[in-house]
């Protein structure tokens, strides 16, 4: 599903980014991406979504070579991938409902389908009754859940979740994790960057750890800290 081959990416300023990363994630896998702040997790996610291109190496996602992909194909590629961004990236001019619906409108789903799906997914993330609000009228955690709903709603092949529980209380976090697991069981590959040791430790799924831009550990049924 996702294959990185000796991928390096450095930003113009300083040497940050990631270097020489290789790994493969299969269909329907569930992978935790961990590492200290600034180690390169978000950079990896952006590479998988072709938000940025690698300097060297090759990346294959959903059968497509992202390095050679012409830019007009990118939107169609992205429709297979649900992304929960660390900074949410909601559309400030659209209500909660419209933000989620947008992901379906983009792929040309009919109005009726949208009006049936969106309320359902909003209920799932606990936002029923807030669908007419605009992003700036929501708490941090509520915005995060809108982002989650948007990433889910079009049943993507791959789900990239960048710290999806960063602004959520433990109960809501577990709700989201259950949701992710259910989605994963339907065959969707899930890659989740997180700092939440508790979640990683109790889920016991594959763990990829990044350390200063390098692949430091790739462990099936891993835990957050080595020593735990």
């Amino acid at each position: 599903m996702i294959r990185f081959e000796e991928v390096s990416k450095s930003y113009s300023r300083g040497s940050s980014g990631v270097s020489d990363i290789s790994f493969e994630i299969g269909r329907g896998e569930f992978v935790f991406l961990i590492g200290t702040s600034g180690s390169g997790k978000t950079t990896l996610m952006k590479l998988m979504n072709r938000e940025i291109k690698p300097d060297t190496g090759s990346i294959w996602v959903a059968g497509k070579n992202l390095v050679t992909m012409p830019s007009w194909k990118v939107p169609y590629f992205r429709r297979n991938i649900g992304v929960i961004f660390q900074d949410f990236r909601l559309l400030p001019n659209k209500s909660v409902f419209q933000n989620v619906a947008f992901a379906l409108e983009v792929i040309g789903k009919p109005r009726k389908y949208i009006h049936q799906q969106v309320p359902q997914i909003l209920k799932l993330v606990g936002l029923d009754g807030k669908s007419e609000r605009y992003p700036d009228q929501l708490s941090g955690g509520e915005q995060q859940r809108v982002a989650i709903a948007r990433a889910f709603v079009n049943r993507p092949l791959i789900l990239l979740a960048d710290e999806p529980t960063g602004n959520l209380d433990p109960d809501t976090s577990w709700g989201v994790m259950n949701l992710l697991e259910r989605i994963n069981r339907t065959g969707t590959a899930v890659v989740m960057a997180t700092h939440d040791a508790g979640i990683v430790d109790s889920m016991r799924r594959r763990v990829i750890e990044i350390d200063r831009g390098m692949l430091h550990r790739d462990q099936t049924r891993g835990v957050y800290g080595i020593g735990v």
Binding site: Y76, R79, V83, F85, N93, F102, E105, V106, G108, R150
Partner: protein, 293 residues
């Protein structure tokens, strides 16, 4: 891609970004009002010129001792020429009173000239005043004809003034038009710049460039349309104001300065088309900048 989606999207955006929309509409309205007024005035000048040209006359002075057949021959010639629009014979009595009027300030001169010394003449109006010298040449040698006075230098002056002023006004209109285009593109660019984040988010959730662009295009189109409709209203008001002033203050010099409803219609159509074009192209180009990434 449903039409419904784009209509909904466009109207929501126009409303949510109403400060920007109003700014764009205002800019279109003001700039195109200026362009439209300039165009209108140019047409007024053109009309006035052809009116003045219509008044241009050739005077064919006859010798005092012209014979009947000679007179008939000149008249027949005038009748046959296709470049002559009309002519009239001015008998001695009338020619003399014209002469007195002309020199009313110098009574001594007037008294010095007896009525019999004043020549009779044909007052000839032409289809195209520019042909005056050619027509004059035909009669100059003719028996019984004394001299031909084509007040050609007057025509020349008027045509020059008219051409210069039409060129200048057209130049001003073009400058205004280019200015308008730049100003409109400017305000649209700034407005869309402040929405670049929105555009990037759309791209990230898999919207194609066309899908993103269409609502912006429609927004620009509507802003351009609304702005140019306001400008059209202003131009109509300007036309009324000019017509009213000319009549009310009886500025006789400008009697020929008639703005026909045909001119007006033409101007309005030009304005509205420009407004829509600039609005649409402007927003499309402005969005495209944030789509390349």
């Amino acid at each position: 891609m449903s039409v419904g989606y784009f209509v909904k999207e466009t109207s929501i955006n126009l409303w949510r970004n109403r400060l920007m929309s109003l700014a764009a509409i205002f800019t279109v309205a003001i700039s195109l009002s200026l362009v439209g007024s300039a165009l209108l005035i140019k047409q007024g000048v053109a009309t006035a010129t052809s009116e003045w040209q219509g008044n241009v006359q050739l005077l064919v002075f006859l010798q005092p001792n012209i014979s009947k057949p000679e007179l008939k021959a000149v008249e027949a010639e005038l009748h046959s020429l296709s470049t002559v629009k009309g002519y009239s014979y001015v008998p001695r009595a009338q020619a003399y009173s014209d002469f007195r009027r002309l020199l009313a300030n110098q009574p001594d001169l007037v008294n010095a000239v007896p009525e019999s010394a004043v020549p009779t003449f044909f007052r000839v109006s032409l289809v195209n005043p520019a042909e005056a010298p050619a027509v004059g040449a035909i009669f100059k040698g003719q028996p019984g004809v004394d001299t031909v006075n084509d007040n050609f230098s007057a025509i020349h002056t008027i045509l020059t003034i008219s051409n210069v002023s039409q060129t200048v006004i057209l130049g001003i209109a073009l400058v205004l038009l280019v200015s308008a285009a730049i100003l409109i593109l400017n305000v649209i660019r700034v407005a869309i710049f402040s929405r670049r984040r929105e555009v990037s988010v759309m791209r990230l959730v898999g919207a194609t460039n066309v899908f993103i662009q269409v609502p912006f295009m429609l927004e620009g189109l509507i802003q351009g349309l609304l702005g140019s409709l306001i400008a059209a209203g202003v131009v109509v008001a300007v036309k009324e104001l000019i017509s009213y002033s000319i009549q009310h203050f009886s500025i006789h010099l400008l009697d020929g300065f008639v703005l026909t409803s045909h001119d007006l219609f033409f101007t309005l159509v030009v304005i509205v088309l420009i407004g829509m074009l600039v609005g649409t192209v402007g927003s499309t180009v402005a969005v495209r900048r944030f789509l390349s990434a």
